[in-house]
Amino acid sequence: MSKIKQKSLLIKNGHVVNPATGTDEVCDLLILDGKVEKIGKNLTADKVTVLDAKGKVVAPGFIDMHVHLREPGFEYKENIKSGSEAAYKGGITSVCCMPNTQPAIDNAMVVKYIQSIAAEVSPIRIFPIGAITIEQKGEHLSEIGSLNEAGVVAISDDGYPVKNSELMRRAMEYAKMFDLLVIDHCEDPDLAHHGHGVMNEGKTSTILGLKGIPKESETIMVARDIELARLTQSRLHIAHLSTAQSVALVRAAKKEGLPVSCEVAPHHFALTDEALSEFDANYKMNPPLRQQEDIEAILKGLKDGTIDCIATDHAPHAEYEKNVEIAYAPFGVVGLETSVSLGLDQLVHKKVISLSQWVDKMSTQPARLLNLKDLGSLEPGKAGDVTIVDLEKEVVIDENQFASKSKNTPFKGWKLKGAPVATIVAGNVVYQSEDAKEKVSKK
């Protein structure tokens, strides 16, 4: 039996921001039996739980389309239960989980397995992403049709690029039959030293004597994939883009009308490679932290719509795996529990993008790209998935408070303005911050 319960809820006096309809005003939101019933002023309903959202922002539930839940195979880092908890504590109502599990999500059975575990343990929505190739080895196509039928929302070999251009072409052509999004981790493995590169190649890698990953290892693959999108006219999504040149390539592709989209992770708009100066592996991820000029281009790309959405690339690792010589540490940082605060603090409060643009990138756009037609908007008839945030709430990132099994955040101790205060899935309040709890009244 699914833990997602269809419930009714009346959210009063919140500042409703719904980019899909252009709604951006203080009003009420009524959810009946898990679906949005109505948005309007002075709504009332009988026998419905009421949540007072006065002074808070009410947005369509946030979707993180790039998460590593690690189950099956690496449950010591994270599992579906702990990952879900991290998500809803972070204001995320839907999570797309990447296929680099053990076994990989390269067949319908693993998809069904994840769905059944999720139904048992998770009160939020979990959407598996299927592997493009068997075991993500880049050799043979997975049964993409069966994966689609089982319910994957996209395909990707994330963690690895599909190096073989012919195979990537065929995957894109094949996926097009199902209108599945093809997500690529863009990296030229030779330029990136086959996983032995540690950080961005530049002044800081030179100072630290760490093997550098040049920006071109990403942009060469972005350029190739865009060419393949032109050839196949299939929908291509560039995962975790990190460089100024990648932003420029995607911008040009979009201008040309090619079906290309992309995401950025919060660490790539909030940190530069100088953060690695103490050799702390909590700043090691792939693609690596880049330079100030890249952040500036990413901020521009967020502003002008080149970058469609924000996704965390939540990649949990055990403390003992990260507290080693940085060259030996695995890539990746956790992100589910810091994404909302980083977006509000670094993007909205700093006026890089408007609140509505930010909500669009956290919810509406990922829903559109993944064909999640019930999600991403608060129009009547859509799912009653809601994220409520407090723009003014100040938080200090404390990894010991994380619900995630792993604590590998690069944002330890950061003071941020803005935080999630309630997470609602199908009208069901799955999470409320302590200070927001007294706001619920049962009728």
Binding site: N323, E325, I326, A327
Partner: protein, 320 residues
Amino acid sequence: MSLKWTKKDLLSLQDLSKEEIELILETAQSFKEVSTRAIKKVPALRGKTVVNLFFEPSTRTRNSFEVAEKRLSADMMNVAIQQSSVKKGESLIDTAKNVEALKVDIVVVRHSASGSPNLLARNLKASVINAGDGSHEHPTQGLLDLYTILEKKGKIKGLNVVIVGDVAHSRVARSNIWGLTKLGANVTIVGPQTLIPSQVEELGVSISNNLEEAIEKADVIEMLRLQKERQEDNLFPTIREYGMLFGLTQEKLNKAKPDVLVMHPGPINRGIEMTSEVADGKNSVILEQVTNGIAVRMAVLYLVSGAQVLENDEQKSAVK
């Protein structure tokens, strides 16, 4: 000496101020005399325990630290660990914490992974001295090079120093770049473009791909050791061609200033980075570098242990 040494660890020359570097060099000067005595020993570190934790083979640096520790009367212990077994078995932190549980005061560490000493310093109470980490830094080598130049030239400020070879992978080059630029030398790095690290000019050095041009005005030429396996990574076509373009011969050296110093951190690949004629010639100060290494390492051990005493005293007075 008005400046007091306060650092628990010596991890890099990047971390040090000009004054701190000068303090080490001055301290080294007073320790150099100890090695000329009939009884080569002072009690400065009596009762202190130093562990030389070497995860990478080294004879030269380890011997130098060992002699320095003994001449300071420290109790010392060598721990050599095969890196392969570390990667498979115990983590660096666990190894180091086990060593620390023996109540050692100073850990001297050599490791092939950049930043390992930083990782240890964050996790240990004992002082950590970096004896070379990956391609990051080799601060005591940098200091002994500075000491040798200062001894021979009487100054560092304004000198033209040329560093030749595989700068991209050289920890010696990085420590020298920091030390030399902080003390006001003009540094030029020379090598094939494939061995010049990215954006290195932002560290305040000039770049040249032409050895003969670069050494014309040099006061000091520091040659780096070439790791032969770089050829397999296609960083240059052959050792022969490397030697032809970037090896120092007497013929090339004749075009430099007559009093130019030729240095090398050792061990030398004779016939590759320099000919024997140059290595053993009148401009070479390579063996003096080795001798000065002892004095510099004595100074570092002494200062670091003093900072520990300071820290302990502060803790004690805080308790009172």
